[in-house]
């Protein structure tokens, strides 16, 4: 069942690459914030899957904290854009 892990992880890596291209290209700041949101969610799922692959239980906690911090960051950036863009 290693092949399933490798297929899903390569799909997630392609998604991260596409999100990063949009993060570099994006015309406005809001586009970059959307790309950052998507990339943080994909990275959360990838961390959980890597924890299953390496048999490390601590990666689940890392994924939870990463999801919380990404959410707070996106909310703060949205508040900042709403005032002045």
């Amino acid at each position: 069942m290693e092949t399933v892990f490798i297929i899903v992880l390569s799909l997630m890596a392609l998604g991260l690459l596409l999100g990063f291209l949009r993060f570099v290209k994006g015309p406005t700041a809001a586009d970059r914030a959307v790309a950052l949101d998507t990339m943080s969610v994909i990275a959360t799922a990838a961390l959980v899957l890597l924890g299953l692959m390496f048999k490390r239980y601590i990666y689940i906690d890392v994924a939870l904290i990463y999801a919380v911090l990404g959410f707070i960051g996106v909310i703060v950036i949205a508040r900042f854009i709403e005032k002045a863009l």
Partner: protein, 117 residues
């Protein structure tokens, strides 16, 4: 045990496909609001499905994976709503073929009520 493992692997593959499609929508869509639509909804269902799949494969981790799934189900629509509201109030207009903008009328009504008060 075996059946739970197969359900978990199926959920994992479905989640990976949805995550990739969401990121593809982020890259290919023409407008901020289309990007938000594609990138947030597909990513929400993809991440929930993949993390639940990990919980099915390793049943001892089920509680924390369910905590992460509940957090993603609450937090991801909230952040997408905040981003869309901020972009609209900052003056970005959506690309639309038929000009229907319901939120603009709502804002006009709000402004008129403020003037009356």
């Amino acid at each position: 045990m075996e059946i739970l493992g197969y359900i978990g692997y199926g959920l994992l593959v479905i989640g990976g496909i949805f995550l990739f499609l969401g990121a593809l929508g982020i890259y290919r869509m023409p407008d901020l609001y289309n990007r938000l639509q594609a990138g947030t909804k597909a990513t929400t269902i993809g991440a929930m499905s993949a993390i639940l799949g990990v919980g099915f494969i390793e049943p001892a981790w089920m509680v924390k994976t369910i905590i992460i799934v509940i957090f993603i189900a609450i937090a991801n629509p909230l952040s997408s709503h905040a981003l869309a509201r901020a972009a609209y109030k900052a003056g970005l207009k959506p690309i639309m073929k038929k000009k229907i903008d319901a939120y603009e009328k709502v804002q006009d009504i709000e402004v008129k009520e403020e003037v009356k008060l």
